[in-house]
């Protein structure tokens, strides 16, 4: 991951200095992907909102200690994705105990069968596999960066990615037949 762009550094510097408009620019730049990443991992709208919001509040609390030379996104995504994995794991446990109803469906609108298939495929994966796929293909991190963000060996990231993609392909093939 490259260092932050000049614009982002400027927003962070402004926010550290008290500029709400710079903070808003930073928020608007990062919220959509943080929220969507959380949603794709947990598959629950309310939980995704809570998780992404808490990550930003944590950023505000630590704003003065933030090193402007480092990119903001990975720091935020580390919190979001790890929280999302924990939440999704806990829900799996709860479901085993209480047989709660299945999670809400993804909203793909009229975006075509491939997105529908990807949504359905993601729902069939475990949260750890969903997380690496989201980090790789939505947030576009390398496997080395994912390994650092999730505190996992690179081999584990690669195998989760491979297995997750294989499973997605199988589901998509089945749907296209």
């Amino acid at each position: 991951m490259l260092g932050p762009g000049r614009q982002e550094r400027s927003w962070i510097r402004g926010a550290q200095g008290g500029s709400a408009s710079d903070l808003e620019a930073l928020f608007k730049e990062h919220w959509p992907r943080a929220h969507r990443a959380a949603y794709l991992v947990v598959q629950d709208g309310a939980a995704a909102e809570d998780i992404a919001q808490e990550a930003f509040l944590s950023a505000i609390r630590n704003l003065d200690r933030f090193d402007r030379r480092r990119p903001f996104g990975p720091w935020l995504h580390r919190i979001v994705v790890n929280r999302a994995i924990d939440w999704a794991r806990a829900r799996s446990l709860r479901r085993e105990i209480s047989e709660a109803p299945a999670s809400e469906d993804f909203d793909t609108g009229d975006l075509g069968t491939f997105s529908d298939g990807v949504a359905a495929g993601l729902a069939s994966l475990g949260p750890e596999q969903r997380a690496v796929i989201v980090l790789r293909y939505l947030l576009e991190y390398t496997t080395a960066e994912i390994s650092e963000l999730l505190d996992l060996p690179r081999g584990t990231v690669n195998s989760r990615l491979r297995r997750g993609l294989d499973r997605l392909e199988t589901i998509l093939d089945r749907e296209q037949r």
Partner: protein, 400 residues
Amino acid sequence: MSEDLRRALQRIQGPDELEAERRAWAMVRSSYVERESLSWQQRNRRPLLLVAAVLAVLLFALFSSPGRALVGSVHDAVTSDEPTAPPKPVLTALPARGQLLVNSSTGPWIVQVDGSMRKLGPWWEGSWSPNAEHVAVTRAHRLAALAPNGRTKWSLARNRILRGARWSLEPPAQCCRIAYLNGRELRVVAGDGTGDGPLRNVVGTTPPAWRPGSIRQLAFSTVDGRIELVDADSTKTIWRTNPGDVPFQLAWSEDGERLLALGERTLRAFDSNGRKLWSIGLPVGSSGVVFARKSHRFVLIRYSPATSRSDLVLYQAEADPGEARFLYSAPGAFGSLAISPNGNWLLVGWVDANQWLFLRLTAAKVESVSNIVQQFGGKSSAPLASSFPKSVSWCCPASP
């Protein structure tokens, strides 16, 4: 496949995405505005004032005798030229009776006086019931009451992320209630898991704090940093303060006569009627307060950006905070505080050294234990700031 997958993921939308963004921005902005309520001059002047204050306190401590029972001895111990004992690699015993409830990165643990430890299962955080008979734990959407052996007494699930569960401090015969946060909603449930219901719809993220000595009064923070005391039975507001720095910790004195609200930039002290006694500005990074037993004096962690050191200082929650009295200082960050049940020992989490310090407050003695992260199941490769235990309570203070 890769490019198609990337595009497909970017097309999938969460429900209510724009509204979620609007709600989140309102919350983030509110938090930011509170943080910025102190002026630039105040923020930049504070490090110098802090250095001056620490120097003044050092001079005061050198040339004055009052307060030595609590302060002087610790000060003598840690500023002595004699080398302190090397840290113990393993926690083999607590220096005083009682049990610890430790909220580590791997979940809550109970530590007995002989050093034996038990992890309470896959929970995110926990807090003691009165007399440590139970532990209230939360994880994601679930709240549960556990026996100290980890057995679940009951549990419930709600629609938002649950956190900040706190037992009321009523004696066990009348036991008990648990206040907790369901997202931004403040709720209360009976100690046996019955009668769960909302108390306030939208509150701040601060864990609520039951007032000691009262069987139903609960303090919490609003989103604009007001502190409100509510009667949990009638749901009526007893008092409410003016807006201020949104606190991340509320702490009552043991007699329920004083309340501290610790925010990112200010520490406010209130009396039992909600009147503000005083407010002091803080440098960024101060991270905890704990009242001394049977006293209105309290210890504050104060981080100095100018020196990258953390200090433990003693103030009083009276009409005037009094002279700050210096207890201990070390490079890096301190993370948690807990006072032993007999009031003689102060546990301090020294995050950057991966150590716990036990400061004896009535004699010149400091003990330390290293490898804290590893002893509570954390990975030694993870950053200390995220893997070091977040809070500790020493059986049975009001809140961790």
